[in-house]
């Protein structure tokens, strides 16, 4: 048997393992959470945004936090699959690139729910796109929200294209070696007739490179656009030129945490230790630590800036409100303290530490968006307008539901789509 055949058979055999009890249990839980998500979405649209905890002044809360959270997670996937590709880090990037691209696509799906759902009148969400309407009015491009619409739809489209194009050779392989005629027909549909002819491969390589080159600046630009939702506003804590690099760093930080949270169980359950190696996890942990420092630098600049500038609104928020806030200190614990453990090689090589640490980082990054968005609004310029905020069960249910929906999509993906880029790993042999 040739080396190529060995790799091919080994990987496909592991990926095609029949779903065990774990898969079904997880599927049930995620399925239930997904149903909850859609039920709560329907309830919100039918009844009104009042079923959430938002109020005046905290008019943005969970929905926008979730939006930024999920988009941010998506960015690490693109970072790994596109940027590391361009930087020719294929040795350790390749085995996880399919997983991370998938993570991106599904994370963006979660994120994309919210710009529509959080609207008071979501049935008019299409007014954010320029089309000739009877009112003779168009979207207003000085606002960051049409930028969001453009950036997120671009990011989603490019991510899907990049993900799909990369997958075509593997889908063709699944078509050719499918177990049942029905599976073969399904894979044939998505493999769109790929034969592996040299013309296709030539074009494919360039397309993949082009898409990676387009996805790379998207990593920076999309989350910078998302951060501009806040940066262009006058709210304290929002109105800062720090936001784009701070947010992009935070996005990749939270994304790497999610990569680890996904890769470690997949590696364990599908016995892929020799593919998703300790070295790869180690490198992810290193990047996690590096991006943690970008975020930590952001915290330092924000608070030191409030101290030095002496602007009353910032002082009230950064130096008055934050130190008294449980959310703030939890965030610091998760985003500043926890990542420091990854200076230790032993920590980077321990899947338990990586997994738990990553979960805490995800918590910390969610809380960071809460601290920025909600607390900034609660301590705005005019003290008489200061208020308070408390989430409702619907808020929490929707957040939990997006995790369930994400998990559901990911479980289905694991079942039916090759989650290790077999052709790329074969290429490494040559």
């Amino acid at each position: 048997m040739t080396a190529l055949a060995q790799v091919h058979d080994d990987l496909f055999e592991r990926m095609r393992a029949r779903p065990g009890r774990h898969w079904w249990l997880a599927f049930g839980a995620c399925g239930g959470a997904t149903l909850l998500l859609f039920a709560l979405i329907a309830y919100t649209i039918a009844t009104g945004i009042g079923v959430w905890g938002t109020n005046i002044p905290a008019a943005w809360a969970f929905a926008i936090i979730n939006f930024v959270f999920w988009i941010g997670i998506g960015h690490a996937g693109t970072f790994i699959s596109a940027i590391l590709y361009l930087l020719e880090q294929g040795r350790w990037r390749n085995p996880i690139s399919r997983l991370t691209e998938t993570m991106t696509v599904f994370a963006v799906i979660q994120a994309a729910l919210f710009p529509v759902l959080h609207l008071g009148r979501p049935w008019f969400a299409y007014w954010l796109f320029p089309y000739p309407d009877v009112m003779g009015v168009w979207p207003q491009p000085r606002s960051a929200l049409p930028w969001d619409a453009a950036a997120v739809s671009t990011y989603f489209t490019v991510s899907v294209l990049f993900w799909y194009v990369g997958m075509i050779p593997d889908l063709a392989a699944l078509r050719d070696h499918a177990a049942s005629p029905r599976a073969r027909r399904l894979y044939a549909l998505f493999a769109i007739g790929w034969r592996g002819d040299s013309r296709s491969w030539r074009h494919w390589k360039v397309t993949y490179l082009m898409l990676a080159s387009i996805a790379t600046p998207l990593v920076i630009s999309v989350h910078s656009v998302v951060s501009s939702d806040f940066a262009i506003g006058v709210t304290p804590g929002w109105h800062s030129t720090l936001q784009p690099p701070y947010f992009v760093g935070g996005a990749i930080f939270s994304g790497f945490a999610m990569v680890l949270v996904l890769a470690i169980p997949v590696r364990f359950l599908y016995r892929l230790d020799h593919v998703i190696t300790d070295h790869i996890l180690d490198n992810c942990a290193k990047l996690l630590l590096a991006t943690a420092w970008v975020v930590d630098y952001g915290y330092i600049v924000e608070h030191a800036g409030a101290l030095w500038r002496g602007e009353p609104a910032e002082r009230s928020l950064m130096l008055g409100h934050h130190p008294a806030s449980v959310a703030f200190w939890t965030m610091i614990a998760c985003n500043v303290v926890v990542p420091q453990v990854f200076w230790l090689r032993r920590a980077r090589r321990s899947t338990l530490v990586l997994f738990v640490g990553s979960l805490l980082v995800l918590l910390g990054m969610w809380l960071e968006r809460y601290v920025i968005i909600v607390q900034g609004l609660l301590r705005d310029q005019l003290p008489a307008a200061w208020g308070s905020y408390a989430p409702t069960l619907v808020d929490i249910g929707i957040l939990a539901g997006t995790f369930g929906f994400f998990g559901l999509l990911f479980l289905v993906f694991l079942r039916f789509v090759p989650f290790v880029p077999v052709s790329e790993l074969k290429e490494e042999l040559a």
Binding site: G48, G120, P122, L128, P139, L145, V234, Q381, L382, A384
Partner: protein
């Protein structure tokens, strides 16, 4: 060529078909016309003169409160009254309003008002009840009435008293008789104190919210411009009131201690009265001596008669009478006469009938009297009241009370000016007024109009009275009286425990307005609490009790107990204030039912509102629905204030808070008509009439206590209250600031908010998709969002202003500078081919404000109140440093404290 079974049996040619078709069409038309010809109808070409669709037709009328008349002007649309404003020609309002005046329009359409009379538990008609009244057997009849000044009612009662044995109980939950008793002690007869505050250099308020009366507020405001003529306001009270926020010298004391201050003051001025020296009183006496003959002392109704007597004596001692103070006979009819509720309770079983009109004594009277049992014991009891409240349920029969705008009334203002209130709309359901009830007892078939009209000499006087809203020259003449009084020793209130002071709610009064959603949701002028009351206490008292905001405390007096949440407020140490009117158990009035705590339960049989009792913390908390919880400026110069001496020495004090900031943006267009607003914080008392006026004008919904607690109240205009570091309190109304560089406009993704060429920040409701970015970017947080579908579909929607869109769920809304009024004026000016005159457009808040603190107009105006404010050196912008260039600007508050301590 076809043969149709419906047609004659021959072939139908094409020509035939066309002929038939034409004939058919002609037959159709002929059929229509012939229908008209068969039954003649006449087109409606001769409209009644008042019916002018789309035009606002205004009428005068009257509202009655505390027995006094308040003249109003009412806007009607298509025959439907929708907006109340004060009548400038009436001395009680001088054009201004109060929150309850603005809110009364809602009561007219309130679905909670009875839909019909009832008797013996089943529906009945008023005519059936009236027949019972006419056919009452001879015997004593007890009438419980609120204090009144109605000549018609007085005349009817006189007639009734001649016909049968009549006992009249004057029931005022918040007894006003103390001031008449005090006057009677000094003058030998109850005389009323009339005030001309424009002539007062010094105004002294002893536990009195003087400026709650709109006419007094307007007069006092005229003396607040900084300069040599600036007046000085002294106030001492157990809890800060709107008057207290304007006071230059403010002292928080126990309600029971006010008597000691009055005594000390009188002693300083020469009266031989037992007293203890009081530092504040000494300083006040010094100031009063410097302003002999140009001061006024006002005492609140809660204080015992001796304090009123002292104040009367002091007015005389200082020679104020004849200047700012005048004495007249009271406008109220027989304020001190009448029996008591205790007498009623004893006599009820032997009475032929007990009739309660416009009062709720089962709820408001001391519980020890057990009036419910007394009413049940009477052979026939009738309650004529706005709601089916506790008294109604205890009576045999109930008829809904007519709203003033549904019936003919007459009443006198406090100064005696008579006015007639005309109805503006037919009652939708069976109602009866006090005049109707007494007329029925008299078996007088005359209707209310005839009875009121009887009091007038001729048609011309009658018509003039109705058109202008007041009978000219009918104010009470001044009475020359000299004080003869030897005060006895009185004991300062002692006793263990803590003082509990019961106060009238500035929102729902003595509880009569508890069913009015606008008033329930109106933030308290001082605590900004809505929907309920609390145990209001100072920080020190809270510390001593071990409570913080929202912790439950149990208040106990000899009469009863009350559990309410605590709330820290500007209250004197060692006293707790609780407001009355809440905690009613009225299942048929959902807005009022079980909201807040029933403080009437604490009152003893003497009806005093100054109690001694105990307070202790109990387990549990209750959420308070407050609209503002942070009171300081926190380092931002948003509410500047200065003493007048400092201001005169530094006229550039707030110059750095106005003017155009440097900007990268092109200069905003200021050509043509440009609208702006000025608000003078020096004369804003925080009374909040403007807030209710805005609600009435702009169809603003109420959301209920749960939503207000969540931070979702909908008032477009709010009044921020700042407690500055120098202890000055500033009330700062916050409408939309109409920023020229509006931060809300550029963040809307769908262009639902934009700037008009005349300077308005416009919100386009039908384009808004509800992203709420505009609210996030508004530093003033003046934008409100429709979190649910808040629009009212009950009969209250009849009050909606047809010129203003009713907003649906998911849409942002905010103050528009009453754009509907601006456009209306523009259209009128366009039709009449002229420019809009200065002062032609008056916003709802501006019209309601009793002191004239809010002025609106065009930037190009000269010689108007608005233009004078624009050029005033006190002008500043809130959050000026943000560079928003707001068109709504303010005048800094200047106070006039006494220099020497």
């Amino acid at each position: 060529m076809t043969t149709s079974p419906l047609l004659p049996r021959h072939e139908v040619t094409r020509r035939d078909a066309l002929k038939l078709l034409a004939a058919g069409i002609a037959a159709l038309e002929a059929g229509c016309l012939s229908r008209a010809g068969d039954e003649d109808i006449v087109p409606y070409v001769a409209d009644p003169p008042e019916h002018r669709p789309g035009v606002i037709v205004r009428y005068t009328s009257l509202l009655v409160h505390g027995g006094f008349g308040y003249g109003i002007v009412v806007d009607t649309r298509d025959g439907r009254p929708i907006k109340i404003d004060g009548n400038p020609a009436h001395p009680a309002t001088a054009g201004g309003s109060t929150p309850w005046m603005q809110a009364r329009i809602l009561d007219l359409y309130d679905p909670q008002r009875g839909r019909g009379a009832r008797m013996a538990g089943s529906p009945a008609t008023w005519s059936a009840i009236a027949r019972r009244l006419r056919e009452l057997p001879p015997g004593p009849v007890w009438l419980v009435l609120p204090p009144h000044s109605s000549p018609t009612l007085a005349h009817l009662l006189e007639r009734l008293a001649r016909q049968r044995e009549l006992h009249v109980v004057t029931d005022a939950p918040l007894d006003h008789r103390a001031r008449y008793r005090g006057a009677a002690a000094v003058y030998g007869e109850p005389l009323e104190q009339q005030l001309d505050l424009a002539r007062a250099d010094v105004l002294v308020a002893l536990d009195a919210d003087v400026l709650a009366q709109p006419a007094w507020a307007r007069a006092a405001a005229a003396r607040r411009a900084p300069g040599t003529r600036m007046s000085r306001i002294w106030a001492c009270e157990p809890m800060q009131t709107p008057t207290g926020t304007l006071a230059d010298e403010h002292l928080l004391v126990h309600a029971g201690e006010v008597a000691a201050i009055a005594a000390a003051l009188a002693a300083e001025l020469g009266l031989a009265v037992p007293h203890a020296p009081h530092a504040w009183a000494r300083r006040l006496a010094d100031d009063l001596r410097r302003h002999r003959g140009r001061a006024a002392i006002v005492v609140g109704d809660r204080q015992p008669p001796v304090v009123h007597a002292l104040a009367r004596w002091i007015d005389h001692a200082l020679g104020n009478v004849g200047g700012p103070v005048t004495l007249t006979r009271p406008a109220l009819v027989d304020p001190l006469a009448g029996e008591t509720l205790a007498d009623l309770a004893a006599a009820a079983p032997r009475a032929v009938a007990v009739i309660v009109v416009d009062a709720n004594p089962v709820y408001t009277a001391p519980r020890a009297l057990d009036l419910a049992r007394a009413l049940a014991a009477a052979p026939f009891s009738l309650h004529a009241g706005t709601y089916a409240d506790q008294t109604a349920l205890a009576c045999f029969a109930h008829v809904p009370l007519a709203h003033e705008l549904e019936t003919w009334t007459d009443a006198r203002a406090r100064d005696g000016t008579l006015a007639v209130g005309q109805p503006l709309v037919r009652p939708r359901f069976d109602v009866a007024s006090a005049i109707d009830v007494v007329a029925a007892l008299l078996d007088d078939r005359g209707d209310a109009r005839a009875l009121v009209r009887e009091r007038f000499v001729d048609d011309a006087a009658w018509t003039t009275a109705l058109r202008t809203g007041a009978v000219a020259g009918s104010q009470a003449p001044a009475v020359a009286a000299a004080p003869h009084w030897t005060p006895e020793a009185f004991a300062a209130p002692t006793g263990g425990g803590i003082e509990i002071a019961l106060a009238e709610s500035p929102q729902i009064g003595d509880g009569r307005f508890a069913g009015n959603a606008w008033l329930q949701e109106l933030p308290h002028p001082i605590t900004k609490q809505t929907w309920g009351n609390a145990a209001l206490m100072s920080p020190a008292t809270a510390l001593a009790l071990g409570v913080s905001d929202e912790d439950l405390v149990e208040l106990t007096t000899p009469a009863g107990t009350l559990v309410v949440p605590a709330l820290i407020a500007p209250v004197a140490g060692g006293t707790i204030t609780v407001e009355l009117g809440h905690g009613q158990i009225v299942p048929e009035v959902p807005i009022a039912d079980r909201i807040g705590g029933d403080a009437y339960a604490l009152r003893g049989p003497d009806g005093s509102c100054i109690l001694r009792g105990s307070a202790k913390k109990v387990r549990g908390t209750r959420r308070l629905a407050r609209t503002q919880t942070t009171l300081g400026e926190h380092g931002r110069e948003v509410a500047p204030a200065a003493p007048v001496a400092h201001w005169l020495a530094n006229p550039g004090l707030v110059a750095h808070l106005r003017g155009d900031q440097p900007s990268l943006l092109p200069p905003q267009n200021r050509d043509g008509v440009q609208w702006a607003m000025m608000i003078d914080t020096s004369i804003c008392t925080g009374c909040s009439a403007c807030m209710v006026a805005c609600q009435a004008e702009n169809n603003i919904p109420t959301v209920g206590p749960v939503e207000v607690a969540r931070g979702r109240h909908m008032n477009w205009l709010r009044i921020d209250r700042y407690e500055r570091d120098d202890a000055t309190v500033v009330n700062e109304p916050m409408p939309c600031q109409m920023c020229e560089y509006a931060p809300c406009e550029y963040v809307c993704p769908v262009m639902a908010t934009q700037h008009s060429p005349d300077g308005l920040n416009e919100q386009v409701y039908n384009r808004c998709i509800g992203t709420r970015f505009c609210s996030n970017n508004c530093p003033y947080k003046v934008r409100r969002f429709n979190w649910f579908g808040f629009e009212d579909t009950s009969s209250r929607a009849l009050q909606y202003n047809p010129d203003v869109t009713v907003r649906s769920r998911g849409v942002m809304e905010k103050c528009t500078y009453c754009v509907q009024r601006i456009r209306r004026a523009e259209q009128r000016a366009l039709v009449e081919k002229r420019a809009i005159a200065p002062g032609e457009v008056v916003t709802a808040c501006q019209a309601a404000c009793p002191t004239g603190a809010i002025q609106f107009g065009q930037l190009a105006e000269r010689d108007t109140a608005f233009a004078r404010m624009r050029s005033d050196g006190r002008r500043f912008e809130v959050l000026h440093e943000l560079g928003t260039r707001p068109r709504t600007q303010y005048l800094a508050k200047i106070t006039n404290p006494k220099e020497s301590k």
